[in-house]
């Protein structure tokens, strides 16, 4: 009986996890910050190359 209960709650948990998305707001912000830094550095280096 106990076994059945745990199996049930596992199923319920699985269902629950599939429906709610993890919160990735911080991840998105971090990725965009790193991306922005890479783009700005790239533009800076390329502008320096073109201007000299």
């Amino acid at each position: 009986m106990a076994k059945l209960d745990s199996a049930k709650s596992f199923e319920a948990e699985k269902e629950h996890a599939g429906k709610t998305e993890p919160k990735l707001n911080g991840t998105l912000l971090s990725v965009m910050l790193v991306g922005g830094f890479i783009i700005l550095s790239w533009i800076g280096v390329y502008a320096l190359y073109l201007s000299r």
Binding site: N25, T27, L28, G35, W42, Y46, R52
Partner: protein
Amino acid sequence: MHMHKYEKIWLIFGGITLIVFLSVIGVSAFAMGHHPPSDMTTIDPEKVKETAPFDDPGLKKIGDNEYEAVMVAQAFMFGEPLEVPKGATVHFKVTSADVVHGFSIPGTNVNMMITPGHINTITHTFDEAGEFLIICNEYCGVGHQAMSGRIEVN
């Protein structure tokens, strides 16, 4: 496969960035002619002084405010100072008579390796008057730190 909405956003963002970077480099290489400062032209490094054009190094006028600077880099000099008018386009043609040297003009994009056996070329337009330094930036021996040349733009 399930993917988070944000995950899609940053994958697309990264993909577009990569495409833009590679396109800019591709266009500047194939349409604007930017390329590394060495070509496949070779020379016998032991016969540099007998091989044209290095048998007569120096500055040659080849067009309207356009010059060819033929130079031999060797321990520890670049040759006579050059003098060009402001706005001159100079095609540097440099080879080494001994070891690997560097050829860099600070403040410009001129920066190349001078490898013995190869003729290294780079073009620069001097839009500003002044004195420019050519420095060796590859360690070439005990006199490396004293190896420099001069370009006078007036």
